[in-house]
Symmetry: C2
Subunit: 331 residues, 2 copies
Amino acid sequence: MSKASDVWEQADRFVLDNDEFLVVSHLHPDGDAIGSTLAVGFILKALGKRYVMVNESPVPQKFRFLPGVEDILSPEEVQAREKPFRRAIAVDAADADRMGITWNLLGSDADILNIDHHPTNDRFGTVNVIDSDAAATAEILCLWADRLQVTWDRDLASCLYTGLLTDTGGFRYSNTTPKVMALASRLLRCGVDASGIADRALETMTREQIALVRRALDSLSFSEDGRIGWMWLKREDFQETGADEEELDGIVNYARNVVGVDVGILFRETEEGTVKASFRSREMVDVGKLAQSFGGGGHARAAGCSLSESGEKVERAVLEQVTRALQGGGS
Amino acid sequence: MSKASDVWEQADRFVLDNDEFLVVSHLHPDGDAIGSTLAVGFILKALGKRYVMVNESPVPQKFRFLPGVEDILSPEEVQAREKPFRRAIAVDAADADRMGITWNLLGSDADILNIDHHPTNDRFGTVNVIDSDAAATAEILCLWADRLQVTWDRDLASCLYTGLLTDTGGFRYSNTTPKVMALASRLLRCGVDASGIADRALETMTREQIALVRRALDSLSFSEDGRIGWMWLKREDFQETGADEEELDGIVNYARNVVGVDVGILFRETEEGTVKASFRSREMVDVGKLAQSFGGGGHARAAGCSLSESGEKVERAVLEQVTRALQGGGS
């Protein structure tokens, strides 16, 4: 029943009235998770608060250039030196499970400030600042820093910019709003290195990733009408290239980006012998619904699911469903 | 000796005091050339002026979604129905040669308004509005539309946005300034479809292009220290994939984007039997100077040259030169 302004005041009080915080985000963190974790750290630092930043997963190589990133600890490192925390600030995490085992670092009576932009956020916090109109959690934090009268210095601005940049797919997704661009402009005025960050966060690829792209492209097939494009990565593709899951980032887009394709799919065999399918769509098909029909989930334009049948069966079943969806026969 | 404000006034008078204009840009047009051509068209239309837009080269497929693009004529189409023009507005063209044969559509006494952001612009116009601090010619046109009190409607804004977007490499190059982002924000407020334009102008690939990427990646090699990455595209790669020169766009970046690489090179055989080398660099090497030493040219981070020796010799000579440049022994 609380109004938005009340929630913001609660969020302000949460940090102003307390002294020590655990800052957490989701496992397998992306640029917004890492950028927002660090940004909250810089905000707390500016306010003279004590805090510990943690993530169950290591920070991906491409975000290790960010200022303060060496202070994001593993749960083991935190556990070895701290008592359970009584206050946590969770950023970009749609539910408590997404925080992984960092959850165990909290006391049973811990209060949580939950700041997120996912529409599916289940409001697991004591205070919940959820703005699903925001392109990124970093966008919400821009406003919060202003409310708390924290100056956007270059370090803070670089972390916020990274969140905006990555969650809008480099200002390419439909969440690229006038507000996002106005915030980006203001962040750049703080001395952010736009091209350096874009280079590291979006452009740089490992040799293993290049090898994986080659193999994925080798497998690219199209439906007769050209509206479905799909690729396969088998277990041996990972073994022989030395690539890991983290390096799959963006590969599915090659299938979607081809002229005439409406739905792009990447099938990949996991170590457990299941098949994961990632979907990207242009306009016609709600792949979120499609993935749901296979027990998965996601958004209308990007989704995925996991299937335990053989590759051939999975491919046939998925392609049939996509074809039906393209014919307007449901998703 | 004229001050900047005088030049702007001359530009304003150029359109306000005359009635009919030929709008031209450079051949093999990119997003800024097409976007700026169309933007000038919309500005002239708003001012109630008559104009004809022309380009020697066809509009690349990926920009054919832009409003008004069907009104960009070929020189032949213009010649068939118009007398020589007495006034031309040239956009994004660093010198008159870049306009190709559209030059022939001008009367011998024609006045030219030359609007451009290339620092190498040779001021071939009667009035020259050259701002090398602008990220794109479209950035200059944003200001000009304001000066002329032309409202940014959705069509004009979409063309200007396309110029900004493409000339900053999707807001990834070092010319991505706070001003660019502020203009982008204002353009999006006019109803521009940011994701639709990014999708068409930056993401979409032809099947031929995908096939070319595969072949280029198959040839990717690295120097022993990993600081040089290079790829080859032979004549048969073009013949067998059906790809053309236009579809090379961006492929060289795969070599540069690999972790540890400082200079990425794409060698390709042309139909005439020469070898063209494209260079991209991260930080260490001024590839503009490097290309110059082989009779080519370009910028510090992106350049190219053409060589008439055999592939093997070219590769050896270029790699030796790049190695020397990396060792600080000149470019």
